[in-house]
């Protein structure tokens, strides 16, 4: 009995969860006339790649996408590297590093982005880095650094200390122990932290809007906002553009979603 009801509930919830994605993809593949009709065409009579052609040929979509890849990729590398360094420090420290990292994550959440972004833009303008990728990469690195640190602190804890001690007996420097012994062992943790950092940087909007302003240098999220966000909504091209934007993050996200929560819940239970 409860099992039948459970399947019913899940069916309704799944429909609610997936419908916007399904409708977005279906719309992006319809010909022009089918999108602008009411009642809508639920089952399209024919498919068309016209909107994709329009978005990729008539707008700087690919150049925005490349900009996003540069910024999100760089921020991913830095936030994971800095997070691994800090995480190793905290995991090996005598003080209770894990709790400190946890509080850093909470504190980073607690401050509204809207409060941080404009003074930070002012700082960038003072040193001549307004409208630069450097500024945006620095921002995204910092936004992801606390979570990477937190995740990796846990990860390094699980690596037996004897491995490092053996390295020390062999006379290796700490720095080579870190890069040659510890980091390779932490590869799965690094991968999760990297994917998380990449997705959140790829999806971010507010910092990019303020720091990069308008123009060709923009990243994908703000680019979408500018080129299809006018008063007369161009739903067809818009749905093609949003579908293309989502594909990389959706795939990465589905690959790691299980891992993102495990740590968080364990933390919540312990604290």
């Amino acid at each position: 009995m409860t099992r039948t009801i459970s399947y019913l509930i899940l069916a309704v919830l799944c429909a609610f969860a997936i419908f916007p994605l399904v409708w977005m993809i279906a719309t992006s593949l319809k010909p022009y006339a089918d999108v602008y009709s009411f009642p809508p065409h639920y089952i399209p009579e024919h498919w068309s790649l016209g909107f994709y052609r329009q978005v990729t040929q008539e707008t700087p979509f690919f150049s925005y996408m490349a900009n996003s890849a540069i910024v999100a990729g760089s921020a991913t590398v830095f936030s994971v590297l800095f997070g691994a360094m800090a995480g190793w420090s905290l995991a090996r420290a005598r003080f209770r590093g894990r709790e400190i990292a946890l509080y850093a994550v909470l504190l980073a959440y607690l401050l509204p982005q809207i409060l941080i972004v404009i003074p930070f833009f002012g700082l960038l303008a003072k040193v001549g880095l307004a409208n630069s990728y450097t500024g945006l990469i620095l921002a995204y690195t910092t936004l992801n650094f606390p979570f990477s640190t937190w995740l990796l602190t846990d990860y390094f804890r699980s690596i037996p200390r004897e491995i490092e001690e053996q390295g020390q007996i062999d006379g290796a420097h700490n720095i080579s122990i870190f890069f040659r012994l510890v980091l390779p062992l932490a590869t799965p943790g690094l991968a999760v932290a990297a994917i998380f950092a990449f997705i959140s940087s790829w999806n971010e909007f507010l910092y990019a809007l303020i720091i990069l302003g308008n123009g060709e240098k923009q990243v994908l999220t703000v680019g979408l906002y500018n080129f299809v966000g006018g008063e007369n909504a161009q739903w067809g091209p818009m749905m093609a553009a949003t579908t293309l934007t989502m594909i990389p993050t959706l795939l990465l996200f589905l690959a790691v979603q299980r891992r993102l929560v495990g740590g968080l819940t364990a933390g919540a239970v312990k604290s």
Partner: protein
């Protein structure tokens, strides 16, 4: 040469401290500096249009506190935050409990249910605006098919509907996180507890009330607090979907702060708004912590 080598040795021995520096510098520049700057700016007439800034005491704060728009936005923020978080929690809990009952097909269900979580704000905004569009929106057609409405409704541009709809969108986005977190907590409950309850003749609802809910309560509490912070501070969902409109119906505090600072260039006022905003969030969280103080894991 030996000096250099001993310096390298010294640095290597203190590597644990050195390794904290890059991340620490990032936090100092991108988090601590803006925070302190903001406190200072809130006491000045700093403006994007004019150079220089003069100390004006608490003038920004008095202007902010006596601005009816602030209180209107604060009310919107509370409605937005509390109803979104409750809705996300309820839907996440129901979904997790249902998923826990299934034998087959759990993994496909899970994958479908986490999809909204992967939506970037801009894609969330555009796809929902299209779904709810007054002229071409599929929502209106579906509701007309089942007879709930007679004619298409412009959901996002009707002041009375805009906020409830934004909350619904936010519940859609946020319930997967709750669901997956609660599911993880459910799997940590020892199976023996249920076995012995069943031997005593307990049914599903009794198990839920006396075993499941009490044991996951600490997780629920943490989730509610985390999510409240996230939803309260959220800016881009509303900014990109309704822009705070129609006529301020969905202007929450972050959107209001953005309007004051970035559209009216008044950085001093904006800084005071963000300080007031943090105080309101602090009060809300303190109320939660007080209300939930008795919620602890049973020994």
């Amino acid at each position: 040469m030996t000096a250099l080598r001993s310096l390298a040795g010294f640095l290597d021995r203190h590597l644990a401290i050195l390794f904290l520096i890059p991340g620490g510098l990032c936090l100092a520049l991108v988090t601590a500096y803006p925070f302190v700057f903001n406190l200072w700016a809130s006491l000045t007439d700093l403006n994007l249009m004019y150079p220089g800034a003069m100390f004006v005491g608490l003038e920004n704060y008095t202007k902010t506190i006596f601005d009816p728009e602030l209180w209107h936005s604060a009310k919107n923020s509370l409605v937005w935050t509390i109803s979104s978080v409750l809705g996300q929690l309820l839907l996440g809990l129901i979904g997790a409990l249902a998923l826990e009952q299934t034998r087959k097909g759990r993994e496909p269900f899970r994958l479908i249910l986490v999809v909204p979580w992967a939506f970037p704000a801009i894609v969330l905004a555009y796809s929902w605006r299209f779904l709810l569009d007054a002229v071409y929106g599929v929502t209106n057609h579906l509701l007309m098919l089942v007879g709930l409405i007679d004619a298409p409704v412009p959901w996002l541009t009707t002041p009375d509907y805009a906020m409830p709809i934004m909350v619904l969108i936010n519940i859609w986005f946020g319930f997967p996180f709750m669901l997956v977190s609660i599911l993880a907590a459910l799997t940590m409950i020892p199976a023996q507890l249920y076995e012995s309850a069943r031997m005593d003749g307990a049914g599903y609802w009794q198990e839920l009330r006396h075993i499941t809910l009490p044991l996951i309560m600490p997780v629920l509490r943490s989730l509610v607090i985390l999510r409240t912070i996230f939803v309260f501070n959220n800016f881009d969902f509303i900014f990109l979907t309704t822009g705070g409109g129609p006529v301020d119906a969905t202007t929450t505090l972050p959107v209001y702060a953005f309007q004051v600072g970035w559209q009216r260039y008044d950085l001093g006022r904006m800084a005071s708004v963000s300080v007031v905003m943090m105080l309101i969030l602090g009060l809300l969280l303190a109320t939660y912590v007080y209300a939930l103080r008795k919620v602890r894991a049973p020994q």
